[in-house]
Symmetry: C2
Amino acid sequence: MGATKTNLFTKQQNEIAVMAKALAHPARIAILQYLVKKNACVCGDLVEELGLAQATTSQHLKELKTAGIIQGSIEGASVCYCINPIVWKQYKELFNTFFKDVDLQASCC
Amino acid sequence: MGATKTNLFTKQQNEIAVMAKALAHPARIAILQYLVKKNACVCGDLVEELGLAQATTSQHLKELKTAGIIQGSIEGASVCYCINPIVWKQYKELFNTFFKDVDLQASCC
DNA sequence: TTATACTATCGCAATATTACGATGTATTTC
DNA sequence: GAAATACATCGTAATATTGCGATAGTATAA
């Protein structure tokens, strides 16, 4: 055992969980915030920005790329990353839906 | 190595990551959706609802409780759980802020 | 009191994540 | 071509997560 039993849950539940997992590390949050702040292609300076080893940074970038929320393109010797606005919007909407107002003014216990 | 280097990141970045981690499992999403749907104290029927073993379910409930997003109270022989509306709202707002519209209509790479 | 029901916790095994040095690959510069 | 730069990937170690059976604790029922 040890592996998540995805088959027990709905497609949407698994989807939200996968998205949340992509955001479940401060380094990946930092990367996303940096790309959002710059709102442009960012080439190169991500390793210094984070303070993690180059290999570790690359691994986090890969995870975000796999999740679809960022995209990268080779620009000469370096690689440029930016937010994928379409997927970003999907994330935003899915979390919005999830946290939708549901008359939660009173806790009952 | 293997442990997350939280000291490299801001308080807010770590906070978002911790919140995302609490949501990063379909069982925990399912629990939250169920509690939201019922919008009331739910006693007992969570184990059957999920399809996971009782011990596993209890563990997920504990994680959600530690994260603060649900609360439980002993009700006779069983325990009743419900959403903590204050923390729920905090989650909602933090994710909202994070996904705030940032002029992302164009991807550049 | 004894039995029953509900939940939490312990202990363990399987798997996943995090981190980094070393190495490989491609591009630029000299 | 050779050296330097920028990333990706591999291999590995440390740690965390997931899942469940077994067990313990507590409250109700008989």
